[in-house]
């Protein structure tokens, strides 16, 4: 169950891996594909707590962090979370 989620601007990522290391629940993982610059980028799995650790350590400012005040009923699909509206 995710109490939070993130949006990831994959084209800005430079595959430095700092977010993956900093994520307390270890729900970020580097993709297999590469972005336009040839860099891999993070993919979010279920279990995000919205703690903002990834946003704090990202040198390329790719993360926006959201919290669900009430946990959503179904686990959100692995892979990059779509940017929630609003």
């Amino acid at each position: 169950m995710s109490r939070g989620t993130v949006s990831i601007d994959v084209e800005r990522c430079k595959d430095c891996d700092l977010c993956v290391q900093a994520c307390p629940p270890k729900v970020l993982e580097m993709s297999a594909e590469v972005n336009e610059m040839g860099y891999r980028f993070p993919v979010l799995h279920d279990g995000c707590t919205g703690c903002t650790a990834c946003q704090l350590v990202c040198p390329d400012y790719v993360f926006q962090v959201y919290r669900f005040d009430v946990a959503p009923d179904e686990p959100h699909p692995p892979g990059q979370a779509a940017a929630p509206d609003g």
Binding site: K14, V34, M37, G38
Partner: protein, 180 residues
């Protein structure tokens, strides 16, 4: 025997090491080489380009080539300059893993999916050497063994762990051309 090539791409793709490997292999073989590089201020992601000219003796070449017989396109970003200098019908060796070969007109275009080939050769960081192996096999200025020796000499001690992978990539690149 004269050859000229401009290698173009973005920082971090190993373009400068590719060009230096080619120029050193030629020098070790008793040929005369000239190598110039043009990199932006940044270490990564910015434009990265290198030109290599090889001749027997009395090499006279300009550091900024007015025209070139061949181009190696590692990335489409910043490739306009190099493609603009390619003589009509010249060779354009394109890293089709990232750059789009169809975008290049009026040239002998050869596509090499360098990233996939490098990964298949268990040398994921050595797409540049795949292209270099392919290029040298097309142009027959220096052979792959000479390139391997030059690369071994150039890779600094703090990156020696990549030598074996680079050699596999050179062979794989040469193999792609021989098989085609």
């Amino acid at each position: 025997m004269r050859d000229e090539v401009i290698i173009t791409g973005i920082g971090g793709q190993g373009i400068q090491l590719m060009a230096k490997t080619l120029a050193l292999a030629a020098t070790r073989g008793g040929l005369q080489a000239m190598l110039t590089s043009d990199v932006g201020g940044e270490m990564r992601g910015g434009p990265s380009q290198a030109s290599v000219v090889v001749d027997d003796e009395g090499l006279r070449a300009l550091p900024i080539l007015p025209s070139t017989k061949s181009v190696v396109v590692m990335h489409h970003k910043h490739s306009a300059f190099a493609l603009g200098r390619l003589v009509p019908g010249g060779l354009a060796l394109v890293n089709s893993s990232v750059a789009d070969p169809a975008a290049i007109r009026d040239a002998e275009v050869i596509a090499v999916p360098a990233l996939e080939i490098a990964r298949a050769a268990d040398a994921p960081n050595a797409a540049g050497f795949v292209m270099l192996g392919a290029y040298a096999t097309l142009r027959l200025i220096v052979d792959v063994a000479a390139l391997g020796e030059a690369m071994r000499e150039l890779v600094p001690p703090y990156r020696a762990q990549h030598v074996a992978a680079n050699l596999r990539a050179l062979e794989a690149g040469a193999g792609t051309v021989l098989a085609a």
